[in-house]
Structures are given as structure tokens and as C-alpha cells.
């Protein structure tokens, strides 16, 4: 490897320049106001966690974890997601105070990557979790929160694709013979490799009827008109009935236009146990976020309660949000050294008026003209008094 140059950053690390910072701030503020109003409490967790707790429980693959060692020799990780630390803090403390919990966060998470650009290794996520509620209304509340949040941020063209980890698992296991076959098919669906899925089924040693069922299922699932179509693939109907109830609640909530049911939806996040979903919007090539029910993760931290949540990528949100036109006045007060008191008073007046005011001595400038160009208004305080440009 070539020596590191002065300007370089570790792969995937990005600077946030003032313009982007302000945009993110708008998202953060709007998201915070919206979620507080919906009854969610914001929390923050540490950047570093133990590998043995959060690192292992997290669904992020080990090769994506940033690891380091503390002075006692324990392996630490930079938090790769927010759901796992929240599960930790909820089970150890917060659930004793309030149940169900409604928690929200706006935080940066870290995922190492070895490949090319276009993928940050540190990025901000905004998300919510409802912990301690196993009812279908918690699923609905999470979906409605995601939809309303996007609307509040001014995103109009978006879709939420909803599936169910349990239903998919049931349909696949009913029609294959071995765990390996299930795993292979599931992995192909995570990547939505339809070609690979069909090829794998052909290759498997299975009765023709099972093969036909699986092919029919994947074809039907691609263009599902109604959840009822799924009925015939299932022996055990509990999860199916659950999804029917969810659909009814979503219909009552009048959000059908934003929703698609897609029961081949599979996630590499292996802690999802029930309903799961992905969020897509016009304007970015990458999913905005995802979420689902992850009762299994709480179990790992020793609590048998229901939990559900979602996380959205702030960087992708910025790509799909309408441009924010903020007409801000940006005043520059320039002064020569003898006029400092006048300049100080003048700046105070301007700031009181709510104008963003920069106080700058002429002495400190190398190129006065170039600097003045950066402001919408220039006030020059010199021997001749106050001059407005």
C-alpha cells in the first residue's frame, strides 16, 4: 500500500461540510419534533460496546465490525447498529420503568467495508423501537410512524414493502427436505436472485409437487393482488391471520397507497422473527431503511417480550427529500481597528434582529474582495462611519 497522504481518511469515512451539516440538522430537528409528538422518547447509547454483548448479538456480519481492544484486553466494537444497544439498555434497565417502551434515536453507526466508494463506513440512522408490545397494533404503529415520518419530511414518492419472516420460513420448510436446502433458498431470496432460486429448486432432490409449489409461490408473490392468495401455501395459519389483521388496520389507517405485501422478502438480519419491511423511495438507488419484529434479539438479552422497530439512513433520506430553500441573510461586519467598539455594538444590533452576523477585522483579511463575495450583505465600519454595500 502506498503511504498515507495528509488529506486522506480511512476508507468509507466522510467529512460533513457546513451545507450538509445544516441539511442533516433539518432532518434531525423535523424528525425529533415529529417523533416526540408521537410519544417516542429519544435516547443515546455509547459509541463503543463490548464485542461479547452487542457485537455478537448484532445481525451485522463480523467482517463489517470495527474492533479494538481496551486496556484490560476486552474486545470492543464501534456500534454497528442501534437496535442491539437499545435492546441491551431496555432489557437491563428501561423495561423496569415503563412497558411498552417507545424509544427513538438519531445516531451514527459504523460498518467497515473493503470495497470501492459510494458506501460510507460511518453513517447516521434515525429510527424507533417499540419494546414490550407483541400485539399487531405495535406492528401497525411502526409502519404508520415510518409513513408519517416520511411525509413529514416532505418525501412523497415512496413504497413500503412488507413481508413476514415466519410465513416465508414456513412455506420454504414445508417444501424442502433439509436445513441446507432451506438456507440456500433463503439466502437466494435475501439477494432476490430469482434465477438462482429457480435453478436451485430444479437441482434439489424434491418431489415434483414441492418444486411446483415453490415456483408458483415465487411467481405469485412477485405480483400479489391480495394476501388471501397466500392461504393455500400455508398449513399453520396463525401468522397468516396476523398479517390479515395488520392489513385491515392499515386499510383503516388509509395508507394502502404506500404499501406492498411481498412474502418473498427476506433479510440477512437473522433476528427478525415476524413482520419485516423495507422502505424505498424515488431519488436514490439504495433502500431508505428497513425494519421489523425482532422478539428473538430481546430473548438473547434475557427478556421474553415483543419488540419491533425501524431504522432509516439519513444520507439516503437527504437524497430523496425536496430541496430546502432557505433565504438566510448573511451579514458581514468589517471594521478597522479603531472602530472595534462601534462594530461590536452594530453586530449586537444585527444579531438581535435575528440576522446571522460575522464580525471580522479588515486587518485579518488577506483578500477582502473575495471574502465579501461570500456574504449577502456587507457593513463596513471605518473612519467615515458605517457604510452599507
Amino acid at each position: 500500500m502506498s503511504p498515507i497522504r495528509k488529506f486522506e481518511k480511512p476508507l468509507g469515512m466522510r467529512d460533513t461540510f457546513p451545507k450538509i451539516f445544516e441539511k442533516k440538522e433539518v432532518v434531525r430537528q423535523a424528525g425529533r419534533d415529529f417523533l416526540r409528538l408521537r410519544g417516542f422518547d429519544f435516547i443515546k447509547t455509547p459509541t463503543l460496546e463490548y464485542y461479547d454483548t452487542v457485537g455478537k448479538a448484532s445481525a451485522i456480519v463480523e467482517s463489517s465490525l470495527f474492533k479494538l481492544v481496551d486496556s484490560q484486553g476486552n474486545t470492543l466494537v464501534l456500534r454497528p447498529d442501534m437496535t442491539t444497544p437499545i435492546a441491551r439498555v431496555a432489557t437491563s434497565k428501561l423495561l423496569k420503568e415503563k412497558i411498552p417502551l417507545r424509544l427513538a434515536y438519531f445516531a451514527n453507526v459504523f460498518r467497515a467495508q473493503e470495497t470501492e466508494g459510494g458506501r460510507p463506513a460511518e453513517f447516521e440512522q434515525m429510527g424507533v423501537e417499540i419494546i414490550g408490545d407483541s400485539s399487531v397494533y405495535a406492528d401497525a404503529e411502526i409502519l404508520l410512524t415510518a409513513i408519517e415520518l416520511l411525509k413529514a419530511l416532505g418525501v412523497t414518492q415512496f413504497k413500503i414493502t412488507i413481508g413476514h419472516a415466519g410465513i416465508l420460513k414456513a412455506i420454504l420448510t414445508q417444501n424442502v427436505r433439509t436445513k441446507e436446502q432451506f438456507r440456500e433458498l433463503h439466502k437466494l431470496l435475501v439477494h432476490k436472485n430469482i434465477v438462482g432460486f429457480e435453478e436451485a429448486i430444479k437441482k434439489f432432490d424434491l418431489p415434483e409437487s414441492n418444486k411446483e409449489t415453490l415456483i408458483a409461490f415465487i411467481e405469485e408473490a412477485a405480483e400479489l393482488k391480495s394476501i388471501a392468495q397466500l392461504d393455500k401455501y400455508l398449513v399453520e395459519k396463525d401468522a397468516f391471520k396476523y398479517m390479515e389483521r395488520l392489513q385491515r388496520i392499515l386499510t383503516i389507517s388509509e395508507v394502502e397507497e404506500y404499501i406492498d405485501f411481498e412474502f418473498t422478502l427476506a433479510s440477512h438480519m437473522n433476528y427478525y422473527t415476524g413482520m419485516l419491511f423495507e422502505v424505498f423511495a424515488i431519488g436514490t438507488g439504495f433502500p431508505l431503511g428497513n425494519g421489523g419484529r425482532y422478539d428473538g434479539l430481546l430473548d438473547e438479552f434475557g427478556a421474553q417480550v415483543g419488540a419491533i422497530g425501524f431504522g432509516m439512513r439519513v444520507d439516503h433520506l437527504l437524497e430523496v427529500m425536496p430541496a430546502i430553500h432557505e433565504e438566510t441573510t448573511d451579514v458581514l461586519v468589517l471594521f478597522a481597528q479603531d472602530d472595534f467598539p462601534t462594530a461590536l455594538a452594530q453586530a449586537a444590533v444585527l444579531r438581535k434582529e435575528g440576522k446571522r452576523t460575522t464580525l471580522q477585522s479588515i486587518e485579518g483579511l488577506e483578500n477582502k474582495e473575495a471574502f465579501e463575495q461570500l456574504f449577502s450583505e456587507v457593513v463596513c465600519i471605518g473612519q467615515g462611519g458605517i457604510v452599507h454595500d
Binding site: G118, Q157, K159, T161, H191, K192, N193, I194, V195, G196, E199, A222, E223, D260, E278, F280, A281, I282, T284, G285, F286, P287
Partner: protein, 207 residues
């Protein structure tokens, strides 16, 4: 109807794939001048083609600047990009295999494999439980065993003619390759109807 951007590989695959789209009933100009053009607009079908190097098609689709694309399975295996693989078009069929000089065995100590497909080759030998050293090349891979750069090559084989002409023999078949219709995950959801319609129509033309 929403606009659709399709990333097409330049060269021989373009013509085959383009012909398939015409067969599928898309109203496309029969003769397209693609020698130097990088983009072709077809307003009547609200389709825009972008012409890319075959290796680059999945990149355009992954980043969502193209909604769908046509890419070789070799490229998909090598790059492992986050795209959906929707349909096997069964055109430009060939396969990936290992080859080398006749009657040779892999050396015991760090056998060397020259290839354009480092990931595919490395995964294959790893699955087999053999540790090898991969040497990345960009073309004329057949040279490597001939002049002693590598013990084996891993490359695509269509007729086997090139291998024969250079005195090499095929050793192990690795995987089949053909052109696939791929889609960006967001486009797949947001433009689902258009993409499903295209998949269905193309499916009927697959031989």
C-alpha cells in the same frame, strides 16, 4: 407509464439482447447506430438505453442510475453487487472452467492461478479446500501457463477453440454463464409494474 433506463453491454451481447426486446414486442428502431453512442432514447416506449462495458453494467444498476440491465453471470459472480437477478435470458452462453498445460498437476506449494475472475477463482478453490495464489490478469489469460506465470487459468470457455489453439486443456468445469436481466432494488419496487411486464414479455422469448 414511468421512464425506464436500461444498461446494456456494448458489443455482441447488445445485439442479441436488443433483438430479444424487439421480439418481446417493444417498439424499438430496427437499426441503431451504436458505434460511438453512449445513450439511445426511445421516446415511444419511454426507454433510455445506456451503453456500458459489460463489466460495468452491474455498477450502473447497483447505484440506481439504470433501473435494469443485462449482465453476464460471470460479472455478477465476480462482483457480488446488490442487484436483483430476475431472468436468465439464456443468451451468450458459455461456462467458467480451469485450464492448463496437458498432463500437469497443481503444484503442492502455493499453486498459482491466473484469471480475470479473482473472486470466482478464489471461492472455487477455497470450496475445494485448496489454498492457491491468485494472479489477476486482464486478457490473453492463456499466456500465463504457456510462459510459466501460473499452473492453471480460470476463464470463460465458449467453444474451447482458444484453449486448443494455445495447447491448453480444460481441467475443471466451474459454473455456467449466460446473460441475466438484473434490476436495482429500489427500481424493482418503485417501478414494479413496468419491470414485471418486461420480465413476462422477455420470458416468452427465452429459448
Amino acid at each position: 407509464m414511468t421512464d425506464l433506463t436500461i444498461a446494456m453491454p456494448k458489443g455482441r451481447i447488445f445485439e442479441e439482447a436488443y433483438e430479444m426486446l424487439i421480439q418481446a414486442g417493444f417498439d424499438l428502431p430496427a437499426d441503431v447506430e451504436i458505434s460511438r453512442k453512449l445513450m439511445i432514447e426511445v421516446p415511444s416506449e419511454k426507454i433510455r438505453f445506456i451503453l456500458a462495458k459489460p463489466m460495468d453494467v452491474p455498477t450502473y444498476v447497483e447505484h440506481g442510475v439504470a433501473d435494469i440491465g443485462i449482465a453476464g453471470k460471470d460479472v455478477l459472480l465476480e462482483q457480488g453487487r446488490a442487484v436483483h437477478e430476475l431472468l436468465d435470458l439464456k443468451i451468450s452462453k458459455c461456462y467458467i472452467a480451469s485450464a492448463g498445460l496437458p498432463n500437469t498437476k497443481l503444484g503442492d506449494i502455493a499453486p498459482r492461478i491466473a484469471t480475470k475472475y479473482p473472486t470466482v477463482a478464489s471461492n472455487y478453490y477455497r470450496e475445494k479446500g485448496e489454498q492457491v495464489e491468485i494472479i489477476g490478469l486482464n486478457g490473453s489469460i492463456e499466456l500465463a501457463p504457456m510462459i510459466g506465470l501460473a499452473d492453471r487459468i480460470v476463464d470463460i470457455v465458449s467453444t474451447g477453440q482458444t484453449l486448443k489453439e494455445n495447447g491448453l486443456v480444460e481441467y475443471e468445469y466451474i459454473t455456467d454463464v449466460s446473460s441475466r436481466l438484473i434490476a436495482n432494488p429500489v427500481s424493482y419496487r418503485m417501478k414494479n409494474e413496468r419491470i414485471q411486464d418486461l420480465v413476462k414479455r422477455l420470458k416468452k422469448c427465452v429459448k
